[in-house]
């Protein structure tokens, strides 16, 4: 029996759609732009409710990023919407110069990140976006775990002053965060306490870490599970405190090793409390076509992958 329960499976992108609508109702300065993926980003409800504050920009992502930067001058809070691939790599220089360096209050909402995009294949399965975004000064990077947390993170992003990258996915995943839980940018959540190993996960991997904890418990291993929804700024204190308690760490993410959450955690540990660490992530390769479950299994971004990494890291203590 898992220590965390969920009521239903829902996609995180729908959490964004719901959060955007609520943020729009709270603040009339919230506006949204979409590059021909309104349905995929679940932005329809916002468009229907606030047609004058919704800008369909067509398949022109570079222009969308620049427009979003421009909209901030005069007080608007723009959310851009497209797939994570087209939200980052395709428009990196526009984000770098017009949004991050210019420190504009733009929220980049990026769906279909990672392998779980599935059958469309590697052209669309970006596994480098966290790295690109966290490298940019002024940029906040958020990767929520489930529907409720994505909704809350979207509302928090609207209330936060500064550029934010919001990453979410395509498939339906267990919705376990309490609906009334407020999202605090930069604060990790210890969702299961343990003593033998710390599992630090982000996005879809948080539920997989919860499943892994159950298997580990059956093996007599007490795992602490941390939901690291904000990758930048990273909650260094939470990492240090937990690592000092358990003595070893596993990170888990739907992203490359290079530039991912794991590297950020390793830096915090190395600089503060050197601790054995293993990382569950994609090992310097592109994805491919397949179902989300098949791909996560093949690339080792799975419950088994986490359990194996935990056993390995414990042996290194």
């Amino acid at each position: 029996m898992a220590k965390i329960a969920y009521t239903e499976k829902k996609d995180t992108r729908s959490g964004f759609g719901a959060g955007l609508l609520e943020a729009g109702k709270k603040d009339e300065n919230v506006v949204a732009l979409c590059a021909d993926l309104t349905g995929s980003l679940k932005m329809n409800a916002f468009e229907d409710e606030f047609p004058d504050r919704f800008f369909q920009v067509g398949i022109a992502e570079a222009n969308m990023m620049g427009m979003a930067a421009g909209l901030t001058m005069g007080g608007k809070i723009p959310f851009t919407g497209t797939f994570a691939n087209f939200s980052t790599g395709r428009v990196y220089d526009q984000i770098r110069q017009s949004i991050a360096y210019s420190n504009k209050n733009v929220k980049i909402a990026a769906s279909h990140a990672g392998l779980t995009l599935g059958e469309d294949g590697a052209t669309h399965q970006i596994l480098e976006d966290i790295g690109m975004m966290k490298m940019l000064p002024n940029m906040t990077v958020i990767c929520p775990a489930d529907y409720n947390q994505t909704k809350a993170a979207t509302i928090a992003a609207a209330e936060f002053e500064g550029p934010v990258y919001l990453r979410f996915g395509r498939p339906k995943v267990p919705n376990f965060t309490a609906a009334d839980k407020k999202f605090e940018i930069g604060k990790a959540d210890v969702i299961i306490e343990g003593t033998d190993v710390t599992i630090i996960a982000t996005g879809h991997l948080v539920w997989i870490a919860i499943e892994a904890e159950e298997i580990l418990a059956e093996k007599g291993i007490s795992a602490e599970v941390i939901n690291m929804a904000t990758i930048k700024p990273l909650d260094a204190q939470a990492i240090i405190d937990s690592a000092k308690k358990t003595g070893c760490v596993v990170t888990a993410e739907e992203h490359q090793y290079n530039g991912g959450l794991g590297e950020s955690v390793a830096r915090v540990l190395g600089q503060n409390t050197p601790t054995p660490i293993e990382m569950v992530a994609v090992d310097d390769s592109f994805g491919e076509s397949g179902t989300a479950d098949q791909l996560m299994e093949k690339y080792g971004i799975s419950t088994t992958g986490i359990v194996n990494s935990v056993e390995k890291v414990i042996s290194r203590k």
């Binding site: 506006v31 570079a62 620049g66 427009m67 421009g70 001058m73 005069g74 220089d93 110069q97 210019s102």
Partner: protein, 281 residues
């Protein structure tokens, strides 16, 4: 309202500022800067509704200007200072360590008058469209202005923005192109011909005008005419013919002055051609 003769005096001083600024740090872009002096002077001393002493990022109820070809920062910095955004003496810090006058315009150091970083080309039109949309949402009748290089027209993002502005009737926007026919590697004709530039913008759905960008009277007249053509469901484009290096004879019509500074002797030669009308910084 500024007299044309007064604006010509400003132009002469701005040209002195430009060559002195790039000479002092032996870097920067004098050619395009010198070619756009009349445009900037017209905008900041006559055409735009703006408040130099009370600059805000939001610029509510003010016209806004975005420089998309950020490398011609010397002319912008000079005109911003000469029109009262900051002290003229600060021009002496251009491109120096810890200066607010970065090589390319930036917001990070808080220089009054700058609302977005530019330098990586092709981005300013999109930004201006966003700002223009915010003015519409806020119920303002203010106008957003931009300037672009002609070489910059080779960037794809420009045309994404061009389609958007026409399709969505962004008609509180007046853009200009510094059509000097030169870019770093040579003439735009040789590097990658822009073809029928006017026809292209017309085909994209813009209301296209032309001006003689180094004729003070014509620049002012065309910008004022452009204002009368806003609010008519089309964005306005002014293709402004200029001479790179205008005002300094040895810099004119030579693309090599795009991004190099004059030496001591060349500076003296240039300054001999430009009256010190308002006092050097």
């Amino acid at each position: 309202m500024a007299e044309i003769s007064e604006m010509k005096n400003v132009c002469s001083q701005v040209r002195r500022d430009i060559v002195r600024m790039v000479h002092a740090v032996n870097s920067g872009h004098p050619g395009g800067s010198l070619g756009c002096v009349e445009f900037f002077t017209a905008l900041y001393f006559e055409v735009m509704n703006h408040d130099p002493k009370n600059f805000t990022m939001d610029g509510l109820d003010e016209d806004m200007f975005f420089l998309s070809n950020g490398h011609i920062s010397p002319v912008w910095y000079s005109v911003l200072a000469r029109s009262g955004y900051f002290e003229v003496s600060e021009l002496a810090t251009f491109r120096l360590l810890n200066s607010r006058l970065q090589g390319h315009p930036a917001t990070e150091e808080g220089l009054e008058g700058i609302r977005i970083a530019s330098g990586s080309l092709g981005q300013g039109l999109s930004v201006a469209i966003g700002a223009a949309l915010t003015k519409k949402l806020n119920g303002e009748d203010s106008i957003v202005y931009t300037l672009h290089g002609d070489g910059e027209m080779q960037e794809g993002q420009i045309w994404e923005a061009a389609i958007y502005a026409a399709a969505k009737k962004v008609d509180n926007l007046i853009s200009s192109i510094d059509f000097n026919g030169q870019q770093i590697d040579g003439s735009t004709e040789d590097v990658m011909s822009l073809g029928d530039l006017k026809g292209k913008w017309q085909a994209f759905g813009w209301d296209v005008m032309e001006s003689n960008g180094n004729d003070m009277e014509d620049v002012v007249a065309k910008l004022k005419e452009a204002k009368t053509r806003t609010g008519k469901e089309k964005p306005v484009m002014i293709i402004m013919t200029t001479t790179m290096g205008n005002g300094v004879d040895f810099m004119m019509k030579d693309h090599s002055w795009h991004g190099i500074a004059p030496n001591d002797e060349q500076l003296a030669d240039a300054l001999n051609q430009l009256s010190e009308t308002l006092g050097d910084y």
